[in-house]
Structure formats: structure tokens, C-alpha cells
Symmetry: C2
Subunit: 425 residues, 2 copies
């Protein structure tokens, strides 16, 4: 029986094998009451990133200047990509950092469509990021006038497992070139079975493109075992790479037929030859295009290092325990106040955040952020989202977040925040 009292939380924190990682991140000593449950939007700043930034700026840029391209900069996207590969079950040269998630998603989707000539459909679902769906539509447009994106409907919590199978094996299945899904849905936290889903996509003759934004660094991923074709993901959420840090792109080493539709010098086999007719580089590097933003790229590494050091098994175990506790406490204390859990209750079906419905979700979220110092976020029209980053969130934080949410509602604190629109990517 789980002890849902504050003493129970303290006891769990006391035996937490990841507790020591909290001090590897910057905390604001002037704001000790802040509870940061938005690491799924922007991870915290690793303290190691401060020294690294100082070195990249003062020594590498300031002193070594252009010579730094010869002294490590050039391989940055591949070097850090190889580290991330260890987190997602990929091999060397299968992962690079590049562009933004939207741009690499476009490249990957167009490449997949071109590799399945004669098939004209992209399947996705309405749990996917709206931005991904916009990008997939742009990719369909780039691939040809007959191409289209089909958005499968869901119950807004669970992925359309049966619906996807029907769409792939039923009428029209032979037209599907690509299935592109968010591994963990940004709203409900639904988590696809990556291997099983990849298998049914392949059985239908289509390719799969996973968006790992809300799973990489917090959910175990084995792209290699699943034989997934393509994947993209953010590095600024659970990997703590910094605001807008470049995306990760995974390209299965066996899918040599996949071509970068946006080829440029950085992805060529002779970037220093200055010829017009250079061919593509090997591996995922062929999907690079232009010069990477070195500062924002380099700072991805410390967060990846911390994640590898902590280990995905321990991270996942704590993530499940944190979300289980939050859900239990929400049922107990928040349901009577009009909240409702809108995240799968089976921990095997969710990532590391929990969405709560509330009729006044926007005002609740704003009051939590601005008055209760519980940094959560609002997803229209009616969800408050709480993310639990196991590297720096403890069980006491979970209890305290619930307690303050109760307070802010019972005290009428949300009244002041009706109609105030937040802006949070």
C-alpha cells in the first residue's frame, strides 16, 4: 500500500538512487519554493553547461576563432548524435543533431515519401503535435500533388491502436507510404508500443517516422530492436539541451535508399571540396544541410551525459513512480475540485507527464505558475499538464504540487487569472 502522506514522499526521496542528480542542475536560490514541472517543455540548465558555454565562447570562439572548426566543431552534430544513439538503441552514424524538430521532420518525411513511389498517404493521429501535422502536410505537398495526410481520430487520451491497424490493412492501406506518430503524445502522455507499431507498419509495406520529443531521455527506446526507419526528437525537453537546441534525427543505417531532400554542404561527402556536384555523406550525416549553430548544439552534450550516467532503467522506474503518485494524489485531492486525469492509467501506456482536465484549465495553470510557483503548463482548451523529470524532481515535489493546486482552487486564487493567455511552446 503506497503511503500518500508527506512522510511517505520523504521516505521515497530518502532512498531515491537518482536524488543526487538534482544538484547537477542550476536552481534559483532566491526562489527556493519553485516546483518546476515543465521539464517536458524546457529542461533545466545543467551546471556543467555553464563551464562548457564559457569554454565555447571565450576559448573556442574568442581565441581559437575559425581554427575551432578543425578542433572539434565540425563533428559536433555527429559526436553528440552518437551519444544520443546510446539512449535510443541506435548505432554509430545513425543519429545527428540538426536544424529544428520541424525541419528534420520535413526532411525525413519527404525522404520516406520519395522512397515509396506510388504510395500517396501519410498516416498520423490527432494526438500528434499540430506542428508535426502541418509539417507532414508540407512534406506531402513537396512530394507530389496526389499526396495527402490522413489524421486518425482518437479518444484524446489513448492512441488509435486498432484504428491504425485498420487503416493499414483495410482499404487504402496499400496507399500508405509513411506512418508518423509521436511516441509519447504531448497532451495526454499516451505512449505507443514502438516495436509493435513499427512491425505492423512494416507489414503494410510502409515506413515509420517516430517523433521522440516527449520520450527521449525519459522512456526507454530501442529503435534498432524495432528496426524503425526514421525518428526525430527535441533535445531541449528531458535531455536538458537548452531553449530551442537542435533536433535529433535518426536514420536507420539499412535504409540507404532514403535521400535528404534538402541537401547542402554540411551533408555532402566532400564539404571542403567546394564542388557543385558533391554526393551525399554516409549515414545520418547525409541529412545535414547547413552550418549548425555551434553554441546551441554543443550545449546539448551535458544533459545527454547526465542522462546516460543516470541510466534509462533507473530514470524510467522513478518516472513511473512519480506519475503513479501524482495520479493517486490527484484522484484523492483534486478530483473533488473538478479535475480529472486525462492520461492513460496504465504506466506502460504513458510517458512522464500527466494531463489533468479542468473546466478552467487556463486560469488554473496561470495561478499555479504565477501565484503558487508550480510551473506547469496549459494546453487548450481544458488541460493542465504536469511533467516529471526524474533527474531533478522528487516525490516531495509531487505532494507539494498537489497541495498547492488544492490551495489555489480552494482559496479562489484562480479567479484572478481568467482570460490571461500564456505563451509556452
Amino acid at each position: 500500500m503506497t503511503d500518500l502522506t508527506p512522510a511517505g514522499a520523504a521516505a521515497l526521496d530518502a532512498i531515491d538512487p537518482l536524488a543526487g542528480f538534482r544538484s547537477a542542475f542550476v536552481h534559483d536560490d532566491s526562489d527556493p519554493d519553485l516546483i518546476y514541472l515543465d521539464g517536458n517543455s524546457l529542461g533545466r540548465l545543467p551546471t556543467a553547461s555553464l563551464d562548457l558555454a564559457d569554454d565555447v565562447l571565450r576559448r573556442q570562439w574568442g581565441r581559437r576563432l575559425i581554427r575551432s572548426w578543425n578542433e572539434g566543431w565540425f563533428e559536433t552534430p555527429q559526436r553528440i548524435g552518437d551519444r544520443i544513439a546510446e539512449l535510443v538503441g541506435a548505432g554509430p552514424d545513425e543519429v545527428v543533431l540538426a536544424d529544428s524538430t520541424s525541419v528534420v521532420l520535413y526532411k525525413a518525411a519527404v525522404a520516406a515519401l520519395k522512397a515509396r513511389p506510388g504510395r500517396t498517404r501519410i498516416l498520423t493521429d490527432d494526438l500528434n503535435f499540430p506542428s508535426d501535422i502541418q509539417v507532414l502536410r508540407a512534406a506531402a505537398e513537396a512530394a507530389g500533388p496526389d499526396h495527402e495526410v490522413v489524421v486518425l481520430p482518437t479518444d484524446s487520451i489513448h492512441g488509435p491502436v486498432a484504428g491504425l491497424a485498420d487503416a493499414l490493412v483495410g482499404q487504402g492501406g496499400a496507399d500508405v507510404a509513411l506512418v508518423s506518430l509521436s511516441h509519447v503524445a504531448y497532451r495526454s502522455g499516451w505512449c505507443w508500443d514502438l516495436a509493435a507499431t513499427t512491425r505492423i507498419v512494416h507489414e503494410a509495406g510502409a515506413l515509420v517516422l517516430w517523433d521522440l520529443c516527449h520520450s527521449v531521455g525519459v522512456v526507454p527506446i530501442d529503435l534498432g530492436a524495432a528496426d524503425a526507419d526514421l525518428a526525430v526528437g527535441c533535445t531541449y525537453k528531458y535531455l536538458n539541451g537548452g531553449p530551442g537546441s537542435p533536433a535529433l534525427l535518426y536514420v536507420n543505417a539499412d535504409r540507404t535508399e532514403l535521400r535528404n531532400p534538402l541537401r547542402g554542404w554540411y551533408g555532402s561527402d566532400d564539404p571542403m571540396g567546394f564542388g557543385f556536384d558533391a554526393g551525399p555523406a554516409d549515414g545520418a550525416s547525409r541529412f545535414l544541410t547547413g552550418t549548425p549553430p555551434i553554441l546551441s548544439t554543443a550545449l546539448v552534450e551535458p544533459g545527454v551525459d547526465l542522462t546516460l550516467e543516470a541510466g534509462m532503467d533507473r530514470i524510467r522506474a522513478k518516472s513511473v513512480a512519480l506519475t503513479e503518485r501524482f495520479i493517486s494524489l490527484a484522484d484523492l485531492h483534486l478530483a473533488p475540485l473538478g479535475f480529472e486525469v486525462r492520461t492513460p492509467r496504465d504506466p506502460g501506456q504513458r510517458g512522464s507527464h500527466v494531463a489533468l482536465f479542468h473546466a478552467e484549465a487556463q486560469a488554473v495553470s496561470q495561478a499555479l505558475v504565477n501565484e503558487a510557483l508550480v510551473i506547469s503548463d496549459y494546453r487548450p482548451p481544458d488541460l493542465v499538464r504536469f511533467g516529471f523529470a526524474p533527474l531533478y524532481i522528487g516525490f516531495t515535489d509531487v505532494d507539494e504540487a498537489v497541495r498547492r493546486t488544492v490551495d489555489i482552487v480552494e482559496s479562489g486564487g484562480i479567479d484572478r487569472w481568467r482570460g490571461v493567455q500564456p505563451v509556452v511552446p
Copy 2:
């Protein structure tokens, strides 16, 4: 009569109105002899960027966390774009920072091709970046199977002014959808007459897309007066934005028919609505796609501020004087050693760098960088390139660079560097 003695250089430095800007950049006190003539590849680090980086990291990311998106981050691409607009004769909402130069070039080129249905050709020349030509080919492929890129030949020094006119008014001119050129050629330093060239492109019914990488911040540019359609450019060369800092993209406010082929949430008219069907934002913002790398983007601002403070007229005057002096000294001292100026001798036809031919250019460049501490760069097969950034290069530096080049050749210093391949973007 120009005084080409060291005393003459010292006299020019003494009256240089921009001399004070040198101390606005970081210099390596442990390496006082370094002469940095590669600001056209990677500009120096502004000292103001150190404090700014510290604030972005420690306060904005570390303490304010996700709330910083509401406190300035979100508008970063537009805010700095509006500052750059002042440098290039553009208006508010006509310039944004985004992606890399290659990616924004792709977006702009595809947009232009789609806006000229029925026309299938892109014209460029062989002075353009090989990477630009690769990207233009990718854009042609995205626009349709009939599209092609025509690369006009040149004498490798001067732009094909007559050749371009012939290609536009002659047979095939009616098929040209887009002309895309580097305003200043990365090799020879050739500088197009931006207004006159834009006019003849428009007279042929085509659109023009300028690459400003080697001109922005050092050559006066008035895109508005020229009524140019589209432009892209680096911010890490003469603007000193840092390695791989995001590109600038200019979209003429009157060209409302131009559509971003790579639309994503950041370029939509309702980025926080989380809907699938958001329309495009107004202005150049509609060409944004994904979340920008905030650190690399924010650090573009200090270099832009310095450039605006110095003023393009003063920068251009000094740039011309520096390159004139270098060419005169090269004729005098380097021509006898096998060097030959491969940059237009008319200052109105060049940017701020000078290319010297040498049969052993690669070894010369390596010896200069590694032994003589003159940071120049090599452009295969036979050019050494010297860039003169007026904000931190003085006339004494010009003389000293020539003197050391003489020394390194006469002393046989280049012998040790034969076959050693540099890597410099």
C-alpha cells in the same frame, strides 16, 4: 600618393574613426601577434556577447526557465531581424532570423518557383557558393520534375553581367522563374550591382533571391530601394553572431504571394492555438518553421548593434581603404613571389576580402595560419583569401600580413605544409 610604408599605415590607424571598435571584441592577450583576416568566415566575439550569454544562460534559462518564452524569447527572430533590416534597407517584419542559410535559401527558392508557375529555370553563376547551387538544385527538384538550375560561367573573378542579361532576354529567358546570386562572391570578392541586377531580373518577369553572406555588415545594401524579392545571409561573418548562428531571411513585404514551403508552428498565425489548420503569420515571420535555437540566436544582437553604431558608410569607407592598401602591397611585394590578385580591382565591384592566386595556395595558407599567425583561408584549388573586417582590423595589420606572407615564402616556411588539408567552412 598613398604612403605604403609602415609609417603610412600607422598614420591611417591614428585617424581611423572606427579604431575604437577594436576593443569591443575579445582579443587573446596570450597571443598578441595574431592577425585575424578571416572575419569573412567567422567574425570575432563581441565582448558584449559574454554578458549577454551569461544572462541568457543563468537568468533566462536557469532561473526563469520556461517563463522566458513569455519574457522575450518568442520574438527573438523578429526583434533581431528588425535590427538587421536597418542594415539592409528593409522595413519592419521583412527580416527574420531562422535555421541556417542553406535551409532558408531552400524555403525562399521553392517559394519563388511556386510563385512563377510555368517557368522552370533558376539562373545562377559559378561564383555562387557550391552549397547554394546544391540547395537551388534541391529546390528545383521540390518544385517539379521539369525544373532545372542553369549555372552561368564566369572568368572566375567578375560576375557574368552580360551573360546574365543575355540569359534573361535571349531564348529561354521567358522560362526563368528565379535568379539567385551571391551579392559578394565568396571566392573572388566580386560584388554585384544589386539594384541594377534586380531591375533586369524583374524586367524579364523573374524573381531575385540574393545571398548576402559575404556582404551584410560590410557592404551597403538597400533591398527596399532595389525592390528585391528575397534575400538570405549569414550572421556569423561580418555581423559577428557566433559560429553557425542562424541565417537572416528577407521577404519583400509586397510579395504576399510567396508561401513558406516548410510551414511549422513558429510561422503560423496562431502558434499557441495548437490547431492543425493554422494559417501563415504575416510578414517574413511566415517563413519561420520550428523553435529557434535561442542561445545562438540571441547572440546575434551584439554584433548587429556594433555594426549599426559604426554605420555602414564609415564601415564601407574603411573596407575600401583596407582592401585598396592590401592590393597595392600585394602588387608590390607578393607578385614577385608568384601571387596574383584575383579580386576585381575596381573597389565598386568588390566586397571586403581579397583573393590571391598562388600555385601552392594550400601550403601558403597553412603556413600563414600555423607559423605566421596570419589567419587567412584557403579556397581550392589555388586561392588564399584575406578578409578585412573594418571593425577590428587596422591598416598596420594589412602591412604586417603582407610582410609575414613575404617572409613565410622567402624563408621556405611553406615547404612544411604541402599536402596538409585545412578544414574551414
